[in-house]
């Protein structure tokens, strides 16, 4: 192994989330196909050349350590703005931010954290008042307009109701239940994949040994 360039580019949270979701749905699709192929072969009378319980030759195994990366939960948690962002809105915001004198890192953090209040922007940008002055509010408006309306948007009201909602949000994050990626379990994909894991482990080993003697 050789590291050619430790940091060739910075990635926004949204990009990483999209990539991980793609990998996840790839994996789910693959297990679903594997399951179907297996069932069809069993129905055909088990005359196939494929070792029962072994992997299909046209399948590639997804390694377990990739599946243990739980970044999807973190990146799609309710306190992250990713659920309100789309690729188009991010591109638009980046272009709109270009006219201000911001560094790359500051722009990246504006995308990642989507500040909607002055105090959040103060944290991200150094010497905010000297550098930007009046345009600070313009940036906040730009960020606000880039976030699409969604049920979550109503959870960050500007004032009075802030306290009770914030408690609710913290509790939701505590639960660690699969609610953090609604796309995935909407159609029961998760069940499917667990089912496959079970059959794979239980029935696999004996079958393997049988065939090796041939």
């Amino acid at each position: 192994m050789e590291v050619l360039n430790p940091s060739s580019a910075l990635l926004s949270n949204y990009e990483v989330l999209t990539l991980l979701r793609e990998l996840e749905s790839d994996h789910i699709n693959r297990t679903r196909i594997a399951l179907r192929v297996k069932k069809e072969e069993e129905a055909a009378g088990g005359t196939s050349s494929i070792v029962p319980g072994a992997k299909h030759p046209a399948m590639v195994e997804t390694s377990e350590n990739l599946r243990t990366i739980q970044a999807i939960q973190y990146l799609s948690a309710p306190h992250q703005p990713t659920s309100m962002q789309t690729p188009e809105s991010i591109t638009k915001l980046t272009k709109a931010l270009a006219k201000y004198d911001l560094t790359k890192a500051e722009k990246l953090q504006i995308i990642n954290l989507a500040p909607t209040q002055p105090v959040e922007l103060y944290v991200i940008i150094e010497e905010l008042e000297d550098r930007l002055g009046e345009s600070m509010n313009e940036i906040l408006t730009l960020v606000g307009s880039s976030l699409s309306e969604s049920p979550l948007a109503s959870q960050t009201p500007p004032d009075t109701l802030a306290l009770p909602t914030s408690r609710v949000k913290a509790n939701e994050f505590d639960d660690d239940d699969p609610l953090h990626y609604p796309d995935m379990d909407a159609d029961g994909d998760i069940d499917m994949e667990e089912h496959f894991d079970d059959t794979g482990e239980g029935a696999g080993i004996e079958g393997d040994l049988d065939v090796e003697e041939d």
Binding site: M1, E2, V3, L4, N5, P6, S7, S8, A9, L10, L11, S12, N13, E15, V16, L19, L20, L23, H56, P57, A58, M59, V60, E61, T62, S63, N65, L66, T68, I69, Q70, A71, Q73, Y74, A77, H79, Q80, A105, Q109, N112, L113, Q117, V119, E120, Y122, V123, I124, T156, P158, D159, T160, A162, L163, P164, S166, R167, A170, N171, F173, D174
Partner: protein, 228 residues
């Protein structure tokens, strides 16, 4: 938070995977090796982003594998210094607050990076901050009425600034003995840990700053302190 690193690697594809298109097999092989692993000086690897360059697969004497020389891009978790990130409080003790991101737990806020004056409350097992207070000694702070304290409870979402990060490569070894007595070995350090700060306006629990252009909001504290 996330970066792309370019790496070069020679990887072997087992004959069992020859039925798969080579790029898929190579990505799977690289993910098996790198995903969820800390590379020294680089950060926590998440997954392969894409393959930049793949040489021709070669069979070596001695095994049936196809060996590919690959240059690829890897998604790495490595927040840069001064970056602001969100995390959840995992636990607190006298010296520090430990944060978790779900996939990464070695994020610490040492007591010196808490807003001052603040101290650790052993009853609540949490640190608290007393805004606009002249007290400095821990025992004085612990005598104050609980209603004025702003606690940082376990499970709260914190906005923190990265101050520094550290990599350790501790080698496991046989137990050492000194004059016949086994020497207590230091506890294994995490290979990659991040030190953060919340001693700044706008940092700390996100609930502190909701709808509050000016810090020290009195009405916020009522909800933040619960009597056990």
């Amino acid at each position: 938070m996330y970066q792309l690193a370019i790496l070069k690697e020679t990887t072997a594809i087992h004959p069992a995977n020859f039925g798969v298109p080579p790029e898929q097999a190579i990505i799977a092989e690289l993910n098996k090796k790198y995903a969820n692993r800390v590379l020294h000086g680089l950060g926590l690897c998440v997954c392969v982003f894409d393959l930049t360059e793949v040489g021709e697969g070669k069979v070596r004497y001695g095994d049936g594998c196809l060996w590919y020389k690959v240059i690829f891009r890897l998604v790495v978790f490595r927040p840069f210094v001064s970056e602001v990130i969100l995390g959840k409080v995992k636990s607190s003790d006298e010296e520090s607050i430990r944060l978790s991101l779900g996939f990464f737990d070695d994020i610490y806020i040492p007591a010196i990076y808490l807003p001052q004056p603040s101290t650790f409350d052993p009853n609540e097992r949490a640190h608290f901050w007393l805004p606009e207070s002249d007290l400095t000694k821990p025992h004085e702070l612990l005598d104050t009425p609980t209603a004025e304290r702003m606690y940082i409870d376990t499970g709260e979402i914190l906005r923190v600034r990265v101050e520094s990060d550290e990599f350790y490569d501790d080698e496991p070894g046989p137990p050492k003995a000194l004059e016949g007595v086994q020497v207590e070995r230091e506890a294994r350090r995490a290979p990659y840990s991040i030190i953060c700060s919340i001693a700044e306006q706008g940092l700390g629990p996100t609930a502190w700053w909701k709808g509050e252009p000016v810090p020290e909001g009195d009405e916020m504290m009522v909800g933040d302190t619960e009597e056990g």
